[in-house]
């Protein structure tokens, strides 16, 4: 009886939120599938398809007449590279801070975490000049180089917390058996840290996909853009908005990413719990 009431409350709470949070996506889908003469007609009901719709014209426009495919590839490329750099820098640092160093390690850990609070909006002006001096303007390298500056601090802090939850005795046993420190890290600690690493991967990737400020300041040529910067700058030309294409361009990364995050959400939460809320 009590259980059923709890379930009912869950539905009553979740349903309205789900509607408000997901409505824009229903709307994007309706817009992306519309023909222009249906879309720009105030006399027809916009909640259903009318003459000429649904159509795949907007999707075709996106891939045939804009650099959209390129932007997707760029984003994926930068995302993968940044995640890799983040792991290479933060895994060893986090492990060392959790295990090898004493009280000063704690202070460095805190200092690293605090740098996460320094936002891109504070740094983009000087970094823009630095990128120009290094001749990295309009190159994806500029993003690959700069993005880890906001993924590494958070990842190091989270992984540090995560490593602390793994009993040191496990490594000691491996060390007694003749493994080296690094060997113990790779064979004992890393397999146990998969949820934490997964959390870092998802979190870093989502930050990269979302990043906008650096992407529009460092890159101005169309073919080097990421999705975040390319769509709002290139599909809006002065006063001309390609609404159908814009909505299609938003849905294409959103749906797979949401599915992906949802599949791994429980592990993401477990990783967050292990790392942040010990």
């Amino acid at each position: 009886m009590n259980r059923r009431r709890e379930t009912l409350t869950s539905y009553l709470v979740v349903a309205p939120f789900a509607i408000v949070l997901a409505f824009p996506f229903y709307w994007m889908l309706m817009t992306a599938l519309r023909a222009d003469n249906d879309l720009y007609n105030v006399d027809v009901v916009p909640y259903k398809f009318n003459a000429g719709s649904p159509t795949s014209a907007n999707f075709r426009f996106l891939f045939e007449q804009t650099e959209y495919g390129r932007w997707l590839a760029n984003t994926a490329l930068v995302g993968v590279a940044v995640v890799a750099i983040t792991l290479v820098l933060s895994l060893p640092a986090a492990y060392a801070l959790a295990r090898l160093s004493g009280s000063w390690g704690q202070s460095i850990g805190v200092a690293i975490f605090l740098t996460y609070l320094v936002p891109p909006t504070l740094l983009f002006l000087p970094l823009n000049r630095v990128v120009a001096e290094l001749d990295l303007h309009d190159r994806l390298w500029s993003l690959v180089l700069v993005y880890p500056s906001f993924t590494v601090p958070f990842s190091t802090w989270l992984l540090m917390g995560f490593f602390k939850t793994i009993p040191a005795e496990l490594e000691d046993a491996a060390l007694v058996d003749g493994a080296s420190r690094i060997g113990a890290l790779v064979r004992v600690v890393l397999p146990l840290s998969v949820p934490g690493i997964l959390t870092v991967v998802i979190f870093s990737f989502s930050l990269v996909v979302n990043e906008f400020v650096y992407a529009i300041t460092f890159i101005s040529s169309s073919e080097a853009r990421t999705v975040s910067a390319g769509v709002p700058t290139e599909l809006i030309r002065g006063d001309v908005f390609y609404w159908g294409a814009l909505m299609a361009a938003t849905l294409i990364p959103a749906i797979p990413l949401a599915l992906f995050y949802n599949v791994f959400l429980n592990r993401f939460i477990a990783g967050f719990r292990g790392g942040a809320f010990r």
């Binding site: 408000v20 916009p46 740098t115 970094l127 500056s149 709002p232 938003t250």
Partner: protein, 334 residues
């Protein structure tokens, strides 16, 4: 003998620990110093000079950029907007995420699908979802306006009840007590064309996009509560609101505080939503510090003053950092 080897081995490890530790930490620390520390110092330096776009140096001008920025009406408005926008959207997010997280930790049929709907805004690049809101709030084709004027408010298109009322009661035939002046169709609001509505739209979009991630963090917090506490609460007869108030809330408060402090940093330092949705308009009324700094520093070319404007955020961020450390320590204790 065996104990002796173990001890020796331990000593070796201890010997190499210092070296190994430094070796493992150094790359991350150097990277952060070069890409966060140095630019921050450079930003502070630039803010004290009259540097313009295209150069990294300029004449030292002391605090003139800060004073100039402070004098400008647009800057003060941007500062007010930043505070307002951060506080209101965070309030919405905390209440919403708290409710949602409580509902989503339980198991129920269709939970996976609902969760998918809820995390959609988090998965979408924020610049793109903001463009979607640009369309949803379009002056001519906006959804709320279409729905309002067709089905809810007297509009020029449909909404027949008001026409019937006009037909019946807006005539000379009736005595004054009954006769009404005809109801005019209402011009639907221009959501992004009016300062207050545009500000409300910005706050809404921001709350909309932060809410899913805040919910995920709250779920992580709730899930980290030991199950014994549930049983203890049950034995003591604490259920529903009582349990929330006396058990869950005190236990979750430190975690929630850390989440909120994060949220404040994310919100106060974000520029995407404002930049894409209104670009500071109409008439520079919805600028926040970050977009105003971008307009001044990148579009206007006044690098020094732009840096000064964005650095006005630094004291607030420092305060948040101090609070965060305080609460983070308490999180570790529980």
């Amino acid at each position: 003998m065996a104990a002796e080897t173990v001890r020796r081995r331990r000593q070796d490890v201890f010997e190499e620990q210092r070296f190994l530790g430094t070796l493992l930490i150094a790359p991350a620390v150097i990277f952060i110093i070069v890409l966060v520390g140095a630019p921050l110092v450079l930003a502070i330096y630039l803010s004290l000079t009259d540097a313009t776009a295209g150069s990294l140096t300029g004449e030292f001008v002391g605090f003139r950029n800060y004073l100039d920025a402070w004098e400008s009406e647009n800057f003060r408005r941007a500062l007010r907007n930043t505070v307002l926008f951060t506080i209101v959207s965070q309030l919405i997010v905390v209440v919403g995420a708290g409710l949602l997280a409580h509902a989503l930790v339980r198991d129920f049929r269709g939970k996976w699908f609902f969760r998918f709907l809820v995390i959609l805004p988090w998965a979408t690049p924020v610049a793109l979802s903001t463009v979607a809101f640009l369309w949803i709030l379009h002056p001519l084709y906006s959804v709320p306006n279409w729905t309002l004027t067709h089905d809810i408010l007297p509009g020029s298109h449909a909404f027949f009840p008001y026409k019937a009322v006009n037909w019946a009661f807006a005539r000379e035939f009736w005595p004054d007590a009954i006769q009404i002046s005809p109801i005019e169709p209402i011009d639907p609001p221009q959501w992004l064309g009016e300062p207050n509505l545009a500000m409300a739209a910005i706050i809404f979009v921001h709350a909309w996009r932060i809410l899913p991630f805040a919910t995920v963090i709250f779920i992580a917090g709730l899930a980290s509560m030991p199950p014994e506490i549930d049983d203890a609460a049950l034995v003591d007869g604490a259920t529903g609101l009582k349990k929330f108030w006396y058990v869950t809330l005190p236990l979750q408060l430190p975690i929630a505080t850390v989440a909120v402090l994060f949220g404040i940093v994310f919100t106060a330092t974000d520029m995407t939503v404002v930049y894409v949705l209104t670009h500071g308009g109409p008439f520079n009324s919805t600028h926040v510090l970050t977009t105003w700094a971008f307009d001044t520093g990148i579009n206007g070319g006044a690098l020094g003053e732009g840096a000064a404007i964005s650095l006005y955020l630094l004291p607030a961020l420092a305060l948040i950092a101090i609070l965060m450390l305080r609460f983070a320590r308490r999180v570790e204790v529980t």
